[in-house]
Subunit: 417 residues, 2 copies
Amino acid sequence: MGLIVHKYGGTSMGSVERIQNVARRVAKWHAAGHQMVVVPSAMSGETNRLIALAKEIHPQPDARELDMIASTGEQVSVGLLAMALKAIGVDAVSYAGWQVAVRTDNAFTKARIQSIDDAKVRGDLDAGRVVIITGFQGVDSGGNITTLGRGGSDTSAVAVAAALKADECLIYTDVDGVYTTDPRIVPEARRLEKVTFEEMLEMASLGSKVLQIRSVEFAGKYKVKTRVLSSLTPPDISLAEEAVSGTLITFEEDDTMEQAVISGIAFNRDEAKITVMNVPDRPGIAFQILGPIAEANIDVDMIIQNASNDGTTDFSFTVHRNEYQQALDVLNTKVRDHIKAGDIGGDAKICKVSVVGIGMRSHVGIASLMFRTLSEEGINIQMISTSEIKISVVIEDKYMELAVRALHKAFGLEQAV
Amino acid sequence: MGLIVHKYGGTSMGSVERIQNVARRVAKWHAAGHQMVVVPSAMSGETNRLIALAKEIHPQPDARELDMIASTGEQVSVGLLAMALKAIGVDAVSYAGWQVAVRTDNAFTKARIQSIDDAKVRGDLDAGRVVIITGFQGVDSGGNITTLGRGGSDTSAVAVAAALKADECLIYTDVDGVYTTDPRIVPEARRLEKVTFEEMLEMASLGSKVLQIRSVEFAGKYKVKTRVLSSLTPPDISLAEEAVSGTLITFEEDDTMEQAVISGIAFNRDEAKITVMNVPDRPGIAFQILGPIAEANIDVDMIIQNASNDGTTDFSFTVHRNEYQQALDVLNTKVRDHIKAGDIGGDAKICKVSVVGIGMRSHVGIASLMFRTLSEEGINIQMISTSEIKISVVIEDKYMELAVRALHKAFGLEQAV
C-alpha cells in the first residue's frame, strides 16, 4: 500500500471512452489500497486547437494571455476524469494547478515549478479520495496562471510525486517503455526493464521523445522512482503484471546494471553543423563567435574546437535545423569580419548518433568499438563529442539507420544482460 | 469620463473576427477616456459542447466537476479578447473569476455572487489597462470554481458594475433593446428608450429573454444603470450615437415615464394549467396540494383559488409544460385521495399574456381595457392574476398572437409617448 502518482498523456485522454478506461485503471490501483493522485494532459489536439485560435488573433500572442487560454485543456480533462471515476463508484476530486497550489516562476509559456503545497491533497487522500491535478500548469506569486511548455505534464506528475514523497510515479504513454533504440529502425531493439536517471537524461536530450527532459531532471533531483509504461494495455490487466511492465528509471546501480555497458543508441536528424574556418587562436574567440548566436536566441548543442597548428583553428558547432539559416546570417553579418575569420561553412545534411550507458564509466574500449564499427561500414565521422556516459558522433545523415543498426548489433543490445 | 462595464454575449464572441470587432468597440470607449471593464461570455456553442462532453461521461455529472469544466469557455474568451486588444495597441489584462476574486456561495451550477474584491481591478484601471473578467463564474470559500447558471454572464457584468460603482453597465446582445412586444408578432412593436427596473423584472420573468432575471434583480438592488443594446452595429459607430441606443433600465420614474401607462406586452407558451376540482374548502388545503408538487421540484407559476359556494372550491395553478405530466402524476398518486378532491383536470394548450407598466399604479381602467379588448376578439379568459404593475391572463394558446396584436394596438404602444 503506497502513495502512487499516475500521469496520462493526451492520447490516453483523447475520447470519452479512453477517459473511462483511464478511470478503470486508476480504480484498480485504488481498490488495491493505494492512495492515488492522477495528472492527466489535455485531450489530444485540444492544446493545439487553443493555440491556433490565439494565433488567429495575433501571430505572437501575449504570453500571459496564451497561458490563460492554453491551460483550459487540462482543466476540462481533470473534471471529466473525476466524473468518470465517480460514475464507477470511486470518490474523486479535481484541482487546477492554482487550487493545489502548484507554484511556479512567472516565465509564461515555459514556467518552472518552484513548490507544491501538499496540505489539500493529503487531506483528500486521507479521506480516501482519488485526487486529480491538472498537468502542464501552475500559478505564479501574482496569482497568474502559468504553463510549463510542451510536455509539461510529465514534469507536473514527477513534481507532484516529489512533493508528496510518492512511492512511485507511473507515466502512462503510447509506447510500452524505453528501448535500446527505435524499433522502427532496429526490429531487434529491446525494451529496457531499468535505466538509470543519468542515462534517461542523455536519451531524452538526444531525442528519445518518451519523456520531457525536465521531468527527468526533476526525477533525478528528488529521487522520484519513475516508471514509463503503456496506456494501451487492458485497464483491468493484473496489478502485479502492470507493476513490473514498462521501464523503471532508477537511482541505484544494482548488480544487473553493472553488467550492461551500453543501454541504448540515441539519434536525431534535427541538427545542422556550422564551421568557422581559420579563426585566430586567442582567448575570447569562442565567446565572440557564440555570443551573437546566443543573443539571437539560437540554441547550440555540440561545440568543437581543435588545437591549432599555425595560430588559427577551425571552430564548429551544431544548431537546430530550423535555426541553421539564421545562425549563418548572424555569423556572416556580425562575426566574420569582426574576428577576421576565414570561410564559414555549413551542412544541414547531418545526423547525430550516440551510444549511452552508465557502464561506460568503468569500461574502456567503448569508443574504439564504436569508431571501428562505423569505419567497417565505411561511414566517415565528422565530429565527436563525449560526456561521462555518452559518446556522440556527427555523420552524414543518409548513414543514420545503417549506423544505428550496426552499433546496436556491435554492442549486443538485442540480448538481455 | 467614467467607469464603464461592457458585457458581450456568446454570439458577439462567436469567432475571431467578432472578437476583433468587440476589441475595436471597447478600444473606442477606452480612447474616449473611460475606464473600461469587459465581461464576455464563452464563444457561442462552447458551453454546450463542454456540457455535452460531461454528459457523455455521466448523464447527471457531478456538479462541482461540471463547473470545473463549464467555466473554461469563458476563460478562453477573456484571454482571446485581451490578445485582440493588445493587437490594436490597447493594454489589457484578463482575469478568471477566482483571480478577481468574484466570491460566491457553493451552490455549484447555480451559485450566487456574494462579493467582489475590487482592489486588483482598480489597480489595473488606474494604470490605464482594460480589465477583462470571465462572466458566469466565481469561486467559493473553499477555493472551488462555481458557475452561476445559464445567462449568468449578465449577472456577472451587473455585479461587477455594482462592486466598482460603475457609471453604466452596457449589455451588448443580438437585439437592439427591449421592445413593447415581440416584433415578429407585432411589426409595429417599438423599442423602448427607457424601462423601469420593476417593469424589466416582470418582462424578464414573463419570458422576454433579453436579460437573465437575476441580473435585473442585481441591477435593482444596487441601482446599477444598465443599458441593453446591439452588438451588431459597426464597432466604430460614434460614441454619442451608441451611448443613447438600446434601452436604458432606470430607477426613477421621470416625467416621460409618467405618461406611459403600459410599457409592453409579454407572453409565453411555456406553461400548462392544472385544476383540482371540488376541493374541501378548509385551512391548509393549498399546502396539501402544492407541498407534494414542491417536493417533486416542480416550479409553480400562477396559483388561483376562488371563493367557495358549497364548502368546496376549485384550485388551479400553472406549471412548466415539461413538468405537466409529472405534476399530474403527483396529484393523482399522492394528493387526490388524501384530500378527498374531485376530478383533476389539465390543459397544456394554453398561453399567458400580460400587460406590464409602472403607470398602472396610478391609472384605473387598465384591467377593464384589457378584458374588453380580448372580449371583442372573442377570446375567453381562463385565469387572471395581477401584481402591482402587471395583469396576466391565461387563454387558449391558438389565440396568443391575436391577443398580443389586439392589446398592443388597444394600449397605443406603436406610438412613442
